[in-house]
Amino acid sequence: MRSFLNPLFALMLAAALAACSSTPTEDDSSATDDMSQQTDTSPVTPVEPSTPSKPDTSSIPLTADNFYNHPSNYDGTTDSRVIYFAFDSNTVPAAAFETLRAHATYLKNNSNAKVRLEGHADERGTREYNVALSERRSKAVEKFLRVQGVSSSQLEIVSYGEEKPAAFGHSEMDWAKNRRVEINYTAGRP
């Protein structure tokens, strides 16, 4: 797991831990204890329900270089449908692991559900070669889901290369947004 040694990931992990300790959430048991102790002393300000343990990532600058592995792109649930990739890479980013595990769990629990993994590349390089590169990305995501136990009959791959960009500009950030695999449910959408 080379990715875990990535300094960016270490930074994210630190940010996530810091977030957990400073902003308790509903399912945090220590927070519940705090609240019960408060009941007989002062009026309670109810804690706003929030997404579980979503770390505060605002301290990590979002750049074209770290875009693929930036936690703000992945919420750890099946709501996140896009996995981004580093330049010239088909390695699934560590920040996307939780999101992909959520999809895997959903697919295993809903055998009627099917996803199409759409691979994309940025515009640099030749078109058919980019189709081939983007297939490697969708295959990497497919492999991740298969390892989690998802049936291959629920997975389908299509490779668009640079033909269907998500961002139409020509900057490094546009390219970062286009190097991606989209998880599209064709049946049994969550």
Partner: protein, 434 residues
Amino acid sequence: MKLEYKAQKIWRIGLAAILMFGAVMARAELLIRVTEGRVDAVPIAIVPFEGAQNAPEDVSQIVQADLHRSGQFKPLPAEDMLSRPRNESEVIYRDFRVLGVEYIITGSMKAQESGGYEVSYALFDVNRQVKLMSETYRPPVSQLRDVAHAISDRIYEQLTGIPGAFSTKILYVTHNRSDKNPFQLQYADADGHRVTTILRSQEPIMSPTWSPNGRKVAYVSFEDDGMPAIYTHDLATTNREKVSSFRGINGAPDWSPDGQKLALTLSRDGNPEIYMLDIASKQLTRLTQHYGIDTEPRWLPDGEHLVFTSSRSGGPQIYKLNINDKSVRRVSFEGAYNARPDVTPDGRYLVYVHRRNGNFNVGVQDLQRGTFNIVTRTDMDESPSVAPNGSMVIYGTQDRGTGVLEAVSIDGRVKVTLPSKEGEVREPAWSPFL
């Protein structure tokens, strides 16, 4: 004809040349501009044809634009002509010699009672003071442009010894996000006129290519539920056939020189490999075996070899494959990114995309002498396609963020821009001789 000894004459007609430089040569969906010409381009005078100003198409203007666009000729503007001969008896060679003009074209267009036109022209050599050729055509109005391009072809061949490619077509993909069908497959005359749309789609269209007789095209279309398939498409009948829709990639079709087979890329066996499909029998032959990416095959003229892009050494490089024994050998060695080869009709030059300092340009490799030349200076240059006479390469590039087509001579000395009015134009494929 020798072009080399003309250089010292350029300055005499230099001003005229500068005025022509960058002039818009044709009004159509694709506007064509000559952005770089040869300094030794041959001065030629195309005298406005008698009767052309009243005709629906001015054949003399079309011929002038064709010859100018080749980059090898420098037409004399009509307003600079000292005399405007209508035929041989009116030619005063001295009037053209003093302007440095080496060849004169005269002609006429006469409306016929049948509704068509009689188009005549003659070509004169100023230095030798002789008529080199003359011809007469009687086309219907709908074929006036064809006749003009045919005349350009004849003159170009007479003066350079190389067949002209003005009567050919360019096939290309357009992308216009605001259109209900953003992706369209179109072809046009080589001068950008007479655009015909052959396919409109909401899903991507890629990698269009011509059959060797120019009657059909093949391409990749994602129209069927967003999944890729390769189609052949008869231009006259519009009959289409889906010839490849395997699991995974169906890409990069290229017609064999005998028209019987398609080379293509399929990933149905796990990763992208080059296959050969017999179109009639549907028999499929796998040609490569490698875990790297193998794609973008192009036939060599002998029909026995292909060149293709492979990542088997790391980044993409060009390889040559013998289809009989399936042996593969690397051909490109310059730099870390070489891809999407095309081949000149004589098999001597490979033309492909080369990355240098992060820029993507078109490079030309001379397979005989082993030299390599980068012939474009823009960025994001892609999909080079060689004209059937081997003189020019058309390719896609970006102009202020929009996809446009440009053409460059194989020696890099002539450059022509074909900007589109709306949306993107990409993946040009130059037709064979039609």
